[in-house]
């Protein structure tokens, strides 16, 4: 286990380096630069600005300078937001996305696992058909439809919850609708995976053995079946959690959450090289980190897995 872990941890910077390098060159060679404006800019001014941000240097030099900053965890100044560095932007915007994401993960897990496990155990029941229909809808209807719809019903018609805004971690009322909107497609995926996992496990011989011992259904399902049924869900969770925590442009836009998802998209359209790099790195670190966590968790869930 120790050696496996060490090897996996060593892999992390390599994976991140490949990610960073690919993004760097893709971004730089995309037509248009950060200082190409709608209106004509004086070439001398433009040259001066490019010089300030080292954009006049040959590409390998730019890449080298970027890497050197990166190892010192300096993501550089934003090209568009003159008052803030990328580090500051991430520090300012990521927490809102993370808080929203955290609630969304909890909602997705509770709803998805609950519905999936019960649907699997009671295959072909009304609950099974009902929850799987809801899951299909959750997957098929895009967030930009679900979000405004929820806001309309619960925010405006019923007036139970605020339509938009963000009041930090404690402003739970503000987070309910966006968290649900964000969680829904993930809950649907989790429900379908958990149901499929449950169906596979529940027909195994060892479940029959458990029944033959005289155990109650609750014990058979929770002690004997759940662990095996969880495995596909756990492997889905790695990338899913990283994705949820880094925010969603659509959800943040609809509910006015000052999150990082918005910065990511705006950075890309503005050719704000450093901001894009920063958000890509953030997502990359989370993705690699959660996948590592999932692999470790697998070892705890399934004793047959040996790390060598």
């Amino acid at each position: 286990m120790g050696r496996y872990l060490l090897r996996r941890v060593i892999q992390v910077p390599i994976v991140l380096w490949i990610l960073v390098t690919a993004t760097f060159f893709l971004m730089r060679y995309t037509p248009g630069g950060p200082f190409d404006m709608d209106k004509q800019v004086d070439p001398a001014v433009k040259a001066q600005m490019e010089a300030k941000y080292n954009l006049d240097k040959p590409m390998p030099v730019q890449y080298g300078l970027f890497l050197w900053d990166l190892v010192r965890l300096d993501l550089g100044p934003s090209f568009k937001n003159k008052t803030m560095t990328v580090n500051e932007i991430i520090a300012a915007k990521a927490p809102a996305s993370a808080v929203l994401g955290l609630y969304a993960v909890v909602i997705a897990l509770v709803l998805g696992l609950g519905a999936g496990v019960v649907a699997g155990v009671r295959q072909n029941s009304v609950f099974d058909y009902g929850s799987m229909t809801v899951a299909m809808v959750g997957l098929a209807v895009p967030t930009f439809v679900v979000g405004p719809l929820l806001a309309l019903v619960f925010g405006i018609y019923l007036g139970w919850l605020p339509v938009a805004g963000y009041e930090g971690m404690d402003g739970l009322r503000y987070l309910v609708l966006p968290a649900f909107t964000l969680a829904l497609p993930f809950a649907a995926r989790i429900a379908r995976l958990a149901r499929a996992g449950m169906l596979e496990v529940i027909h195994q011989d060892y479940i029959r053995t458990a029944w033959a011992k005289g155990l109650s259904e609750q014990v058979v399902v929770l002690r004997h079946a759940l662990r095996g049924a969880m495995l596909p869900v756990v492997s889905f969770l790695g990338p899913a959690v990283a994705q949820i925590l880094t925010g969603s442009l659509v959800v943040e836009q609809i509910f006015g959450i000052p999150g990082i998802g918005r910065e990511f998209v705006q950075g890309a359209t503005n050719r704000d090289y450093t901001l894009v790099m920063g958000t890509v790195i953030l997502f990359g670190v989370l993705l690699v980190g959660f996948n590592l966590l999932v692999d470790i968790l697998y070892g705890f869930l399934d004793p047959r897995i040996r790390y060598a």
């Binding site: 060892y206 029959r208 033959a212 011992k213 005289g214 155990l215 869930l301």
Partner: protein, 368 residues
């Protein structure tokens, strides 16, 4: 779970105190069918047998004859759609298991009637330590907890001949060999002290040498405990070594029931005869050829009319195709479901039909 079992166990105690001859289990006219898209599959069609205290009964037949379905139905382990039991009773010490509540049934399962399955590789939970899989049965049926339950688990593993039970109790199933796993299964089934053990092809998935060890172990434990056993198998060699009485099944019906020696010496049903002729025997005359059973067992989607074995039977009579023979004693009091009076592999002169191989004299001259 720790409280002493009320009604069903108490009720079961009363008839059990009677003379030892009262059967532990009595299956009567059991019918089991499965609902499918193409109609019903009639897996078990009127099966009747009983298991007496301390005896080991073999349930024999080829794949799909209904022997496993019968045994699973005893413990109600088949999922209820699609399985239906339209008719019959299964009395365990007087209580009809088919009419117990789920709660009452759970006390019987594992506690009074335990089961061992065919494939030890898949029948143990790969996610749980061996010890846990034993202690959960101990907690449930014996009411022991913690260290006491664990100690009982170690003892149970020792009893089935697992070396180093103190450490093996913490092993996961994948860390044990197939033979060891089947020993664990046996320990798990017997640790609660059941008085009936149903073993469904317990050695089919094992190597021949391991098979012998496991059968020895089961025979020893059964004798020591005076427990009754139903052994389900298609292996006649296993039957000969393990059982006192044999029930032969074909296409969801019992075709013959006999003490084991009678059955091997002088089968009274053509299917039993064919079954015996299809396996090698050390005591057979040299040069005897093995004789396969031609054809296939019938589809069970329609309730069979006439004898199910008729299309494959070499002694078939006209009435076999229209009239269903039921399990009845023949002239010697042997139970078989057949219209042809069979003696030592030859039919006696038929009572009322023109068909038949010949007079009794020929039968006597050409035996074995």
């Amino acid at each position: 779970m720790t409280t002493p079992a009320p009604s069903p166990a108490a009720a079961a105690g009363a008839p059990g105190q009677g003379p030892a001859l009262a059967p532990v289990l009595a299956v009567d006219d059991l019918h089991v069918r499965f609902r499918t898209d193409d109609g019903h599959v009639h897996a078990v069609n009127g099966v009747t047998f009983e298991v007496r205290p301390g005896e080991s009964l073999a349930l024999v037949g080829e794949s799909g004859c209904g022997k496993s379905v019968t045994s699973m139905t005893i413990l109600r382990l088949l999922p209820s759609p699609p399985t239906e039991v339209p008719k019959g009773t299964i009395r365990y010490r007087g209580d009809d298991l088919l009419r117990l509540s789920n709660r009452q049934m759970r006390r019987v399962r594992g506690g009074k009637v335990a089961m061992i399955f065919q494939d030890p590789m898949t029948s143990l939970n790969p996610f749980l330590r061996v010890g846990r899989q034993l202690t959960e049965a101990i907690e449930l049926h014996l009411g022991l907890r913690g260290a006491a339950a664990r100690a009982r688990a170690v003892e149970a593993l020792r009893e089935v001949g697992i070396p180093g039970p103190e450490t093996r109790v913490d092993a996961y199933p994948h860390e044990l060999s197939g033979g060891m796993r089947q020993r664990v299964m046996i320990a798990m089934a017997l640790v609660t002290g059941p008085d009936l053990l149903i073993a469904d092809e317990p050695t089919t998935a094992l190597d021949v040498t391991i098979q012998a060890q496991i059968l020895d172990l089961m025979r020893r434990l059964q004798r020591e405990r005076g427990m009754s056993m139903i052994l389900i198998t298609h292996d006649l060699a296993v039957v000969a070594g393990m059982c006192t009485r044999v029930v032969v099944m074909y296409a969801g019906r019992i075709v013959e029931e006999a003490p084991v020696d009678d059955l091997f010496d002088d089968p009274r049903h053509p299917y039993t005869l064919a079954l015996l002729e299809s396996v090698p025997r050390l005591d057979a005359a040299l040069g005897r050829r093995l004789r396969p059973i031609e054809g296939l067992p019938p589809k069970l989607t329609e309730p069979p009319v006439g004898c199910s074995f008729a299309p494959r039977c070499r002694f078939v009579l006209d009435r076999c195709r229209t009239e269903t023979p039921w399990l009845e004693p023949d002239a010697d009091g042997r139970l078989r479901a057949c219209f042809v009076p069979l003696r030592r592999g030859r039919p006696l002169a038929p009572a009322g039909g023109p068909a038949g191989a010949g007079p009794a004299a020929e039968g006597a001259g050409g035996s074995t």
